[in-house]
């Protein structure tokens, strides 16, 4: 997917500090956005679907804190719900991609042989096509629906977790220290727990952030080209397209969902920058 290709470029050579400044800023930004998404609607109690045509395109700071869209719906409510939707879906897809990806990756490297070849072939099938094409094909089954979008994204995102877990584990397994542990009588579980896991764990935050960033970009992009989630769902990508005709009257309102996507992905990317994936 769009971000996978960027993960390697974004990571500079191994660094010892797992909490560099960019990661701190990224997490801070994400915390602010989460607060907005969760608390925003509670504080102003607005319904993202309630229309008030008399307030169409109301400016910022009027009755509506962040203005209103062309149907007079509260932008703040819609943005908050949009952020919640994007972040929630991204979190869900990431989790459903990470769990099998990591387990299968470690399994493939550990078992080797047929198991590994079969799993690698499986990942090759997914990687044969760019991720977005795969999601598009699945969306053809039910355009505008949540399920194919979720399945397609998870399906294309698990590969990155698998790949990193497998190469990291494989690299570890040839290290003398694993052989030494075996010779010293330690079992598989001990080695996984004390030698493999501690090496993969620091990569997790990076991988997870990238996967979520990718998912957010893909969801908004697909919705913007009318195959993802459809209006009136307050989805950030489709909101932009919906509002685009009113650019002359309310340019800021049009840009707001775009800025929100930008901040979400920026926060995730900055968070990802600390770790090293290679």
């Amino acid at each position: 997917m769009m971000l996978q290709m960027q993960d390697l470029a974004g990571t500079t050579p191994p660094r010892s500090d797992p909490w560099p400044i960019s990661r701190r800023i990224g997490l801070g930004l994400l915390a602010l956005l989460a607060a907005f998404a969760l608390l925003g609607p509670v504080l102003v109690t607005a319904d993202p679907a309630r229309q008030d045509l008399s307030a169409s395109l109301a400016p910022i700071g009027s009755d509506f804190l962040l203005g209103a869209d062309h149907y007079g719906r509260s932008m703040l409510a819609r943005l908050a719900y949009g952020a919640r939707l994007s972040f929630g879906m991204a979190l869900l897809t990431m989790l459903s991609a990470a769990a099998p990806g990591l387990l299968l990756g470690v399994l493939a490297a550990w078992r080797g042989g047929v198991t590994e070849r079969a799993l690698v072939a499986l990942s090759d099938i997914v990687l044969a096509l760019p991720g977005l094409l795969l999601v598009l094909l699945l969306l053809a089954f039910a355009p505008g629906h949540f399920l194919p979008l979720y399945l397609g994204l998870s399906l294309s995102l698990w590969v990155e977790f698998f790949r990193v877990a497998r190469t990291t584990t494989a690299r570890l397994l040839v290290e003398p220290r694993i052989e030494a542990s075996r010779l010293l009588g330690f079992g598989t579980f001990y080695i996984l727990r004390h030698q493999v896991l501690p090496e993969i764990a620091p990569l997790l935050l990076t991988l997870a952030s990238f996967a979520m960033g990718t998912a957010i970009l893909a969801i908004s992009t697909l919705s913007a080209i009318s195959v993802g989630l459809q209006p009136p769902t307050p989805e950030l990508g489709s909101m932009i397209v919906e509002l685009l005709p009113y650019y002359d009257e309310a340019p800021l309102t049009v840009l707001m969902p775009g800025i929100l996507i930008f901040l979400l992905v920026l926060g995730l990317q900055l968070t990802a920058r600390g770790g090293t994936v290679r």
């Binding site: 030494a180 010779l183 004390h194």
Partner: protein
């Protein structure tokens, strides 16, 4: 032609620490200088100060007189104009200093063409390659060349530059017997041609054959200096003596002793990697209390043989028979690169605790062993990255001995250690074989060391 390089009262410091203090020495024509010392002794810093490549943040004071100028006072441009014209470098481990994507001929020809502006650079390069016995290797990339070939290419490059002053950085590092002699012969030819040679090494034997003057460095200070022969034959400083004694050629020979019963036997072993056959029909037997050395050039299968004996690799043919009744964990291994054999985030104490708990060894036994291996209790709080190679290798020996092994495969276990540490670890191995009756397979590329430490040797051919 310049007649000398004079270093006067050279001091190198960081903001808060002195790394080299008050170092003075002279390199004259026909009078090469060899700086002897272990890593961290400051000898490389001296070379960097001469070259003008000290890392940023280091300050050098004193004088380095060469060509009538003080090298420490030169600006960036003036310094660079000396490289390849007045001062040449023979880099250490030249295989890392060669461009991996350029053919050997090109890497030599560019010295003639771009540095000296000579016509017929390619012809000169071909001749230069022929001189070092690489006539056919001009079209090879570094990855297609052996370590020895890379070293000779580096020598050809240094020779082509024909600088009055040549710095040789650990020229014998990573090379075994024959290749080492070859490098020495070529360096001696450069001396005979009137070039000033400054060599940095921890290799006492190399210093001895190069002759000239030697200077022993310890913790940033020259502890002793003088004519090499005299200095090595009659050292005045205790560290010089330790350094000389640590050279394998000076180790006391092993007293012949009656070996015990056979601990491990292998018969008719054969192993090949793809087309490359390592050995066929090889028989090996190691008996209790015996040290058997395995020598041979790199790539001859020494490590593979040891791995087959401890069971981490399988032979293509043949079989391994262990002494009946020996515990499965009684066959152990020491690794070449000590840090790679430890879990980086585990402290030594934790690693030992896990091991002791797993095998029900009591604490006193651990303490006893650590004391015997001269490992201070304070070291238990350290992680592998914070310990020296020698300390780590002793910890590795400790954790192995905790399991009461009958057989130990030491895979180049001392090759990455400083001379003094190397001798200590080798001594501990010898002690274990004598006291505990441990059978040891000692893999090394150093024939002299093999001769000194082992009861007998197996030689593998390429």
């Amino acid at each position: 032609m310049t007649s000398a390089l004079r270093i006067e009262d050279l001091t190198i410091r960081t903001a808060d620490r002195i790394l080299v203090s008050g170092f003075s020495a002279t390199v004259g024509r026909g009078e090469p200088l060899t700086l002897l010392g272990e890593s961290g002794s400051g000898k490389s810093l001296v070379a960097q100060a001469i070259m003008g490549t000290l890392p940023p943040g280091l300050l050098a004071s004193g004088r380095i007189l060469f060509d009538g100028a003080d090298l420490l006072c030169l600006d960036e441009v003036a310094r660079r104009s000396l490289w390849g014209r007045r001062i040449g470098l023979l880099p250490q481990e030249p295989w890392t200093a060669l461009d991996p994507t350029m053919r050997a001929g090109g890497q030599l020809a560019e010295v003639h063409r771009y540095v000296h502006g000579r016509h017929d650079a390619d012809g000169l390069a071909a001749a230069g390659l022929g001189e070092v016995g690489l006539a056919d290797a001009g079209g090879h990339y570094p990855f297609q060349m052996s370590g020895g070939m890379c070293q000779r290419l580096a020598l050809a490059i240094a020779h082509a530059a024909d600088t009055p002053l040549l710095l040789a950085d650990e020229p014998s590092k990573g090379l075994d017997g024959v290749l080492r002699a070859d490098v020495v012969a070529r360096l001696q030819r450069e001396i005979a041609a009137g070039r000033l040679l400054l060599t940095i090494t921890h290799d006492v034997a190399l210093a001895r054959v190069l002759g000239g003057t030697a200077c022993v460095m310890l913790d940033g200070q020259a502890v002793e200096a003088g004519p090499t022969v005299r200095l090595l034959n009659a050292p005045a400083h205790s560290y010089t003596r330790a350094l000389i004694d640590a050279d394998p050629s000076a180790w006391p020979p092993r007293t012949p002793r009656e070996p015990g019963p056979s601990v491990i036997e292998a018969m008719g072993l054969a192993k090949a990697f793809g087309r490359r056959r390592l050995f066929t029909d090889l028989d090996v037997q190691v008996r209790a209390g015996e040290i058997v050395a395995v020598v041979g050039p790199s790539g001859s299968g020494k490590t593979t043989l040891g791995n087959i004996l401890v069971g981490t690799e399988r032979p293509d043919r043949g079989r391994v028979r262990r002494v009946p009744g020996a515990a499965p964990l009684g066959f152990q291994k020491l690794y070449q690169d000590p840090p790679a054999a430890f879990v980086p985030h585990q402290t030594m104490g934790r690693a030992l605790d896990h091991l002791a708990r797993r095998h029900g060894v009591d604490r006193e036994r651990v303490e006893e062993l650590l004391a015997r291996l001269k490992l201070a209790p304070g070291l238990r709080k350290q992680r592998p990255g914070e310990l020296s190679g020698g300390e780590l290798q002793r910890f590795a020996l400790a954790r192995v001995l905790l399991l009461d092994p009958v057989f130990l495969f030491a895979d180049e276990a001392t090759s990455r250690l400083d001379p003094v540490n190397q001798m200590e670890v080798a001594g501990l191995l010898r002690e274990s074989s004598e006291q505990d009756g441990l059978a040891i397979l000692f893999v090394t590329h150093d024939t002299v060391m093999a001769e000194r430490i082992a009861d007998r040797s197996i030689t593998l051919q390429q």
